[in-house]
């Protein structure tokens, strides 16, 4: 029966997390979907993106309580009253954290996955991968021979940033938690990795960069941003992509993260935040370059796959706690 009403299951936040995120901050709710109107199509989600930055929206009010959440997902069009979207097409969109979604074509991208594993389009060929590409290449303008530091380097964005920097010809230093250092060395090919949980991580970072830092790709903020700025060379560039050190705090919005000092004032330094929506013209070359590198094995990525909508809350908790290597996704059957 085409265009019929259905029931969707959604992940809702039922209270503002206060302190570390808990699975009890979430419920799975059911919602009756109305019949498709002209211009709408029904998407059966296949993969949901679990992104640490959502923690801030859950806690601080831009995500609704007891309502549907904005988040990236990939799904298959199963019914359509939209002339440009036919059943069977695969689309990326932001009606995530639910099993069935109603699309209208806004903020929606068709995905021609071909032979690619669909997971790649959640990670290295998706929004997170594009943040790594744009941040390193367009915002920070990393060049061959430069010293590049990437923090949270074993995460979804960081693990691509370190490999892109290596492929550009940079000298790469990475920070990550203890259990991910081996992967960064052996699989991502990062020469120098530093455990940010070591008491003397800051001294180690300085020792690893005796001739300073040209580019810092920041996923963390806070003390690591501060340390990076203290090592920055003249004409150094900092691309600020994330601030995971602040996400689980009570007041992330005013968390100081790195002081601008005389050293920076006299060093022709750039510190920039950015969003990939301002750099869409790079999307095709990003897809081609990173796609080729993935197929050739020059870039290798990890995906943590969890199954079923019920797995979403624990996936967020584990990701924010720093327990996940690479990209975390939830797969729906």
């Amino acid at each position: 029966m085409p265009f019929s009403a259905r029931t969707a299951k959604e992940v809702h936040v039922i209270r503002r997390p206060d302190g570390p995120l808990s699975v009890d901050d979430f419920v799975i709710a059911e919602r009756a979907l109305p019949d498709l109107a002209p211009g709408e199509f029904l998407i059966a989600n296949r993969y949901l993106s679990i992104d640490p930055v959502r923690r801030v929206f859950f806690a601080h009010g831009t995500a609704p309580l007891n309502g549907g959440l904005h988040s990236f997902a990939i799904g298959e069009v199963v019914e359509s009253r939209h002339p440009d979207y036919a059943p069977g097409e695969i689309v990326g969109h932001y009606q995530g954290l639910r099993d069935l979604a109603v699309g209208r074509g806004e903020e929606t991208r068709k995905i021609a996955a071909g032979e690619d594993p669909l997971e790649w389009h959640m990670g290295p060929l998706g929004v997170g991968g594009f943040f790594a590409y744009v941040g390193l290449i367009e915002v920070a303008r990393a060049r061959p021979g430069e010293n590049v530091l990437v923090s949270s380097a074993a995460g979804s964005v960081g693990s691509l940033a370190v490999q892109l920097a290596r492929l550009i010809g940079c000298r790469v230093v990475a920070t990550a938690a203890t259990d991910k250092l081996a992967w960064l060395r052996a699989t991502a090919g990062v020469e120098t990795v530093i455990d940010y949980k070591d008491a003397d991580w800051r001294e180690r970072l300085g020792a690893a960069l005796p001739d300073g830092l040209d580019v810092y790709f920041d996923n963390v903020g806070g003390a690591q941003l501060d340390a990076a700025l203290s090592l920055i060379n003249p004409h150094g560039r900092v691309a600020v992509c994330g601030m995971v050190s602040a996400y689980d705090r009570a007041t992330p919005f005013s968390e100081p993260a790195g002081a601008w000092t005389w050293r920076m004032m006299t060093s022709q330094v750039e510190l920039k935040s950015y969003h990939v929506r301002d750099h869409q013209r790079l999307w095709p070359v990003f897809q081609r370059s990173v796609g080729d590198w993935l197929h050739s094995g020059a870039i290798r990525v990890e995906t943590q796959v969890r199954d079923g909508l019920e797995a979403v809350p624990q996936a967020f908790v584990d990701l924010i706690a720093g327990k996940s290597l690479g990209k975390t996704v939830v797969r729906l059957s």
Copy 2:
């Protein structure tokens, strides 16, 4: 007698200032100049530039104790063994804070002052003016209709920055000390001026910028940089030109000045320091534009002229204490 030995008088720093700068930190010393060697020329300085940032070099070791100081000056070539510099030519150079200097053509620019007052080439058409032009137009990319804040707006650089912003078509807000607000309103044509010595300056600044800040031209650092960052709009740009709030402190190099927060992380904001030496291609258009505006009266500037090398120490003390309007120079007869 050509190429003859002479005695130069120089301003020396005799001790590292510790706390507020004092005239007792300086002496006037005499130094015998050797005969001119081939490739050298003798410059009789006419105007010496008094720049607040020198305070940091005096205190923290990059300026020698009991030796000649690096500083901008304009003088007349009086003898020459250099093929490109003839007696009578006017040159800008960095062998300042002395009456007679030996030039070799490095870091030297010939000045075709024509009908211009020579003081203009110390201020709005000199290095300070070029810092204002490059910072506002090239680094911060101020555009018509944008909200621009300039701190230390009645100083040498700031007083040009506010007028350039007004001429571009920006809405200009300026901060300065009490006794300079009237000049900024009446002569520089700044609509909204805020006294940074008022207890509630920060609230006033917020109230003056109800729709936020697109560009901040920073001469001050510290609390004013912090306040500006808290008001910055998405895609806002900050050009960091100076940090006068830190110059008279014991530890300017590590003085925190403005915290990078979540708000900035999510706002596609740029914070940049710069040096005009990286933007020399703009020098001719800067000379032409600002020269035209000065001649037409569209830009108006103040110069505080003090006479005689002996006036240099007090000129520095007064400038750092915030007592001077516009550009401070010392004139030698």
